[in-house]
């Protein structure tokens, strides 16, 4: 049923990675992505792959869960490969009709695939091991310095967590309204694109009205419970760095320095 769809597909289990502070995991993901774009020889990627494999092992999330996310992005991956393969100028290896594959093209396409695949798996480690709540909390706290720039950090985090709460509710509502209109003979499937777009009106209008009504109700309920923004608010589950988080930071920087060094220094 629609309510069971969870965003960010958190995988419930007990592991060191699960227990880490969300800020560490956020920083880790960013560092990992940076490292991927710093390499220009194969050695760095091997280092990154080993690092990623260890983290996945520690997280106790089955590898097939990581791969699941790849399917949806396969198409983009293919396009990247095709573009790089055929459009990179250089030493021609194969040529047929008007297309040429160059040595440089193969190299860049291969790197691109590895880079994107690792980037994706790397960030899914974060979403699989961190609850959405924890993640928004982490973001709020990690972005706190940006408050100086008048960025409404608390509000953004609050919006994200409310959105996460209401997405399943609105999905179910969409399903309900759709069925109600189907029962009145609505047809959402046949016809060309314009006809289909027009057929969405009886679905979208009630959905928007309902979303606004919910927003209104929720705002009132929040005010009734003394919500007045982030100032003076305490936390039920405050984020506190533990010893393991410090160690994790050290490991991360060691990885970044080490992998780049290996990539640059080895021939």
């Amino acid at each position: 049923m629609l309510r069971d769809i969870t965003l960010g597909q958190y995988y419930q289990t007990e592991s060191v990675i699960h227990r880490l502070d969300p800020r560490v995991k956020l920083a880790g993901t960013v560092i990992f992505i940076i490292s991927l774009f710093c390499f220009d020889k194969g050695w760095g990627y091997i280092g990154a792959a080993i690092f990623l494999a260890i983290v996945i092992k520690l997280s106790k999330v089955p590898f097939k869960f990581m791969i699941k996310g790849m399917r949806s992005i396969m198409f983009i991956l293919m396009i990247t490969v095709v573009f790089n393969l055929f459009l990179t100028p250089g030493e021609v290896v194969v040529s047929f009709w008007k297309l040429q594959i160059t040595k440089e093209g193969i190299r860049i396409a291969a790197f691109m695939v590895i880079r994107l695949a690792m980037l994706l798996i790397g960030s899914s480690v974060m979403t699989l091991t961190t609850t959405p709540n924890n993640l928004t909390d982490g973001m709020e706290k990690a972005m706190r310095p940006l408050k100086v720039l008048r960025l409404p950090v608390h509000e953004i985090a609050m919006m994200m967590s409310i959105a996460l709460r209401f997405i399943p509710i609105l999905m179910e509502e969409t399903d309900k309204i759709m069925k109600a209109q189907l029962a009145r003979g609505a047809d959402f499937e046949s016809g060309n694109i314009f006809k289909k777009a027009k057929a969405m009106v009886p679905l979208l209008v009630p959905l928007f009205i309902s979303a606004f009504r919910r927003a209104n109700d929720l705002a009132m309920a929040m005010e009734a419970r003394c919500y007045r923004g982030g100032n003076g608010r305490t936390k039920m589950k405050p984020l506190v760095y533990k010893k393991r988080d410090a160690i994790a930071y050290l490991v991360l920087f060691a990885y970044l320095a080490g992998s780049i060094a290996v990539d640059k220094l080895l021939w």
Binding site: N133, L164, D217, L218, A221, R225, R233, T234
Partner: protein, 290 residues
């Protein structure tokens, strides 16, 4: 002065047409004067559009009176510095169980109020635990609200208000969207709050079965208080209630119909036990005469 006191409270909505011109003024609450004692269980009845919800929203400073005054625990709701104290004193539970739960986990939602009030972390956990236990939802503390039934969600909402340690809790048709089981559980939780924790309860509803245990009932119509009294006093006026688009419990109605047929039963019987006793009493007396 009681926990909630109003003096000639008036609230007007201004209706505008599409160009923003004033089309007319609706008086949703019309010169309501009442005084509610700390610790009472108060029921407010009325059909849809009678002004009962509007009145309720004044008790939490969500709406401000157009005329007249309302004091919550002695504080005038028009004084802006007092708004947060008032909301802490008089908590509010709304009708739609989905639209008032903020947290993605039950315990986090209950902690939302205390977080806003700046309660220290350790105390938040204590308050969350005791509140969830008070409404019988402690074992669900780790659940996602989306996995709960309507009645369970409403009990979580009540716990959310309770965790703010209010003196008074205003419930605006909390059972209107629930099934009979959910309704029973919610009403049981509300009665427990009143009996055990001595929280003043103001229950707005149009289900007659829910008000039988109230200390006092107000019936609203067209923004005014049309009737007030104990449940017994209110239910003795079957015709007047019907005229206000309300009904009475089946047992009360049955007694009333029998009275009309000439069977002398006492007015406003509220429970089955009472009804049986009175009918049997009548039957035995008749037997004695014969």
């Amino acid at each position: 002065m009681g926990i909630i006191k109003t003096d000639k409270l008036v609230f007007e909505y201004i209706r505008r047409d599409e160009d923003g011109n004033v089309e007319g003024i609706n008086r949703a609450v019309d010169e309501v004067t009442l005084d509610i004692k700390q610790g009472d269980f108060i029921a407010v009845l009325g059909h849809n559009g009678s002004g009962k919800s509007t009145l309720a929203k004044h008790m939490n400073a969500i709406l401000c009176p157009t005329e007249g005054t309302i004091w919550v625990d002695g504080r005038d709701t028009r004084e802006e510095d007092e708004v947060w104290n008032i909301r802490q004193t008089a908590g509010m539970v709304f009708q739609n169980p989905d639209n008032q739960i903020i947290g993605q986990v039950v315990e986090e939602d209950v902690g939302f109020g205390p977080e806003n009030m700046g309660v220290p972390t350790k105390e938040i956990w204590e308050r969350v635990e005791e509140s969830l236990k008070a409404v019988g939802m402690y074992e669900f503390r780790k659940y996602s609200p989306n996995k709960l039934s309507g009645g369970q969600k409403q009990r979580v909402s009540i716990a959310g208000v309770l965790a703010m340690h209010p003196k008074c809790i205003v419930l605006d048709e909390p059972t209107a969207m629930l099934d009979p089981n959910g309704r029973k559980d919610v009403i049981r939780a509300i009665r427990a709050l009143n009996d055990v924790e001595n929280v003043t309860v103001i229950l707005i509803t149009h289900y007659m079965e829910e008000i039988i245990h109230a200390d006092k009932v107000f019936v609203m119509d067209e923004g005014k208080i049309a009737m007030q009294g104990t449940p017994k006093e209110i239910f003795s006026q079957v015709e007047a209630l019907k005229a206000l688009r309300l009904d009475v419990p089946q047992v009360t109605l049955l007694a009333y119909e029998l009275q009309k047929k000439g069977i002398a039963l006492p007015d406003s019987i509220l429970s089955i036990e009472e009804f049986t006793k009175e009918v049997m009493h009548y039957y035995e007396q008749k037997g004695r005469k014969a």
